[in-house]
């Protein structure tokens, strides 16, 4: 919780020496509390007092790091409840659960699926980031499982789900260099679990039967000096998991209670009870409302396409629109006779326009110059989408070598640019396309 001026005053030497430039220690403390003066202006502060202050002024939700190399990720560090206030910073990560009680075929199938679902969407690689490996009581099989997943060489981080600290220790040894998350500390085993986590400097996942109990366990682990944690919002019911996820986030950010200032983990597959449709609904809910790690039972494209897309939307800067790469996009296999259509690099516009062209089934070279990431009219008004910027892009992009067609379709909303472009590109016939993308299929078919 944020310190008041009086709290800070208690930490000062209370000598009124004026070395800080203020007449009294209290006056100084009051200024520090408002953030107007750095505490370091007092040359007489003890280390203990400084530590206490550092802790008190740390961000309300901790950022924790796990994984290694290409599969290293950060979670938490969020500062707001709603994304319009300030960007959500560390996107949630999706995990797939594999347990030692599964048959070999089942394990193989999940590993294959993790490998298979891997694609690029608006410049970002989409894939499962975490393999969540669950111990259900057969130690040999568990160790075998960890080894097997490791041998599969997937680009994933590990989350070792195991409440038996002895078994966990052995499993950790196998993937120590991968900096796994370990999960499964509860009110009974937290001391032993914390020890494993501390020794290897690993993120530790805590679970409990209720929010109250989770709070206690979190406090207790904190007392043991470990602060790299993630909190399980619970799997007793969907309603409870949702309430807990919201409460954990709110208690930390709104009420400033750092005991709960950690990222959360949601077992969406378990909550959905083997129903992949429900699992998708829940994973969507928790992608928006405060799940940091979302554990799925399995992955397939049908599930991944909406989930990764949703996440990509939610974790964007609300003040900066999403953009696509400025380049030539071939749609419906265009050839040397296909016309050229120009639009802006605002991702939403690109998606709508490319989607409509696809729907038309007509081959088109879609060229996307740099338009500052704005929509057509805004980009035009801002001077980012002009006759010369479009003409220059046509000249420099290499589109003139790709097609012999010299038909250039421009958005109807910037019909005024026609003359300008024609002056710059005398070989081209500039055609004004419809105002709305939805009319493109008809327009292209009749062209």
């Amino acid at each position: 919780m944020a310190l008041t001026g009086l709290d800070i005053f208690k930490l000062t030497p209370k000598k009124n020496c004026k070395d800080c430039g203020f007449p009294t220690c209290l006056a100084f403390a009051m200024k520090v509390a408002t953030g107007a003066v750095e505490i370091s202006k007092c040359p007489h502060m003890g280390q203990e007092a400084l530590d206490k202050l550092a802790e008190a002024t740390a961000p309300p939700m901790k950022t924790v790091k796990f994984g290694a190399g290409e599969a290293e990720y950060k979670l938490g560090g969020e500062t707001v409840l709603y994304r319009h206030e300030k960007t959500f910073v560390n996107r949630n990560r999706y995990a797939v659960l594999i347990s030692d009680s599964m048959s070999n075929e089942e394990i193989d199938s999940r590993l294959t699926n993790i490998e298979k679902v891997n694609y690029i969407r608006i410049g970002e690689e989409m894939h499962i980031e975490i393999a969540a490996l669950k111990y259900t009581g057969n130690k040999d099989k568990y160790i075998e499982l960890v080894n097997k997943v490791k041998a599969a060489n997937l680009k994933v981080a590990y989350m070792l789900i195991c409440e038996d600290a002895e078994v966990l220790k052995e499993a950790v040894e196998l993937v120590k260099s991968e900096n796994p998350i370990i999960y499964g500390a509860n009110k009974e085993n937290y001391e032993a679990m914390t020890e494993v986590a501390k020794e290897n400097k690993l993120v530790l996942g805590l679970k409990a039967d209720s929010l109250e109990e989770l709070y206690e366990v979190t406090e207790n682990v904190g007392k043991l000096g470990h602060k790299e944690l993630i909190l399980d919002a619970g799997s007793k019911s969907i309603k409870e998991a949702f309430e807990n996820a919201v409460q954990i986030r709110r208690i930390a950010l709104k009420d400033g209670d750092r005991t709960f200032g950690y990222p959360s983990v949601i077992f969406a597959g378990e909550l959905a009870n083997n129903n992949k449709y429900m699992e998708t609904a829940l994973a969507s809910l928790f992608t928006i409302k405060y799940g940091s790690i979302i554990v799925l039972d399995d992955i397939e494209y049908a599930k991944a396409l909406p989930l990764f897309a949703l996440r990509q939307n939610i974790f964007t800067d609300p003040q900066r629109p999403m953009t696509v790469e400025t380049k030539i996009y071939p749609i419906n296999n265009p050839d040397e006779n296909s016309p050229v259509l120009v639009t802006v690099d605002f991702a939403l516009t690109y998606f709508i326009v490319s989607g409509e062209i696809e729907r038309s089934k007509k081959p088109v070279w879609l060229v996307v110059p740099d338009a500052g990431g704005y929509s057509v009219l805004t980009a035009w008004a801002a001077g980012k989408f002009t006759g010369s910027s479009i003409s220059n892009f046509i000249k420099e992009s290499g589109i003139e070598e790709k097609t012999k067609s010299r038909k250039l379709l421009i958005p109807g909303k910037v019909a005024v640019l026609k003359g300008d472009i024609e002056d710059n590109l005398p070989e081209w016939e500039v055609v004004v396309a419809p105002n709305e993308a939805m009319h493109l299929p008809k327009f292209l078919k009749e062209m």
Partner: protein
């Protein structure tokens, strides 16, 4: 230190209004807490509607066409089948046949059909238009008259036609009016105020503040809904205290994920499942953002989202 739960109380509340008549009448709105935040205040279960058309759904994906092939030629039969089989909270009859760029049926013909549908089912009706503002203005005017007494929701009045929709729909025949704006809190507010100045009570308006499929600008939707709700609850802004209806299916079944056949995207697998998942994910997200009602197309989505809502209530 003991855990202290964080409770958020607001002074504002969403207006409560009813659609339909009789036993199956539904209530939208009434909540004074963010979506599913039952630990903060009162919430009312969001309602789930199913979309049907007044014409053969030629543009729909094959799996959906198959599902309705026996009834698609006859809208009344289609409505009855949907009511009986899936029991949605409401049926959204989309009068696409009136589209001047399509079948261009007359407003009389479409309205008569809407009346026949309304007479043969007891599920509340939401009437959606063509998206052509001029035609929709006339269409809703006629539909309002012919559906007198059915207490339907006319979705949607836009800035270009709100006068005819508002006057006929809400003022003359006491239906509810959907105010459609496109994902912007100020536009939503402005249209509500315009309708109110015309004489439509705020309590008779349902907002359709826009829809986007996940991945297609959903961030704008999420933040617009958040801001609208925070203004309605926190600032007690009367001009934004309407329930929100979101036509999820109108968007999700048009995106690449739903329409690309398996032959084109073999890796992506079953096309039907992709469409369902896009619809489910978008619907769950829209409900989490604060919608009071969603329109869906696939029975599997309806079943899943119904269970989702029940679990969270």
């Amino acid at each position: 230190m003991a855990l202290k739960k964080s409770v958020q109380k607001y002074s504002g509340r969403i207006n409560e209004l009813k659609i339909g008549t009789g036993e199956k009448e539904i209530t939208l709105g009434g909540e004074n807490a963010m979506a599913f935040h039952s630990f903060d205040g009162e919430i009312n279960a969001p309602k789930i509607g199913m979309e049907i058309l007044d014409i053969n759904p030629e543009g729909w994906t094959n799996s959906l066409k198959d599902l309705y092939k026996d009834v698609a030629e006859d809208t009344v039969e289609w409505a009855k089948a949907v009511e009986e089989k899936y029991n949605p909270d409401f049926i959204c009859l989309r009068l696409q046949g009136a589209d001047p760029n399509g079948a261009n049926k007359t407003v009389e013909e479409c309205s008569e059909l809407a009346k026949k549908v309304a007479d043969s089912i007891s599920t509340p009706l939401v009437i959606a238009g063509t998206g052509n503002h001029e035609k929709d203005g006339k269409l809703f005017e006629k539909a309002a008259e012919i559906l007198d007494g059915k207490n339907v929701l006319l979705m949607s009045a836009v800035e270009e036609n709100y006068k005819s929709v508002g006057a006929a729909g809400a003022l003359a025949y006491n239906h509810k009016v959907g105010a459609e704006s496109s994902v912007d809190i100020n536009l939503a507010k402005q249209l509500n105020i315009l309708l109110n100045q015309l004489g439509v009570k705020y309590e008779d308006i349902v907002m359709n503040v826009g829809c986007a499929a996940v991945g297609y600008g959903f961030e704008y939707l999420a933040s617009t809904y958040d801001r609208i709700r925070l203004a309605a609850f926190g600032q007690n802004d009367k001009t934004l205290q309407m329930p929100i209806i979101t036509p999820v299916s109108f968007e999700t079944w048009n995106v690449k994920e739903s329409i690309a056949p398996e032959s084109e995207m073999p890796d992506w697998g079953c096309q039907e499942d992709r469409g369902i998942m896009m619809e489910i994910s978008t619907a769950a997200s829209v409900l989490a953002a604060g919608a009071d009602a969603v329109v869906l197309r696939h029975p599997k989505s309806v079943e899943t989202i119904r269970e989702f809502v029940n679990e969270l209530m």
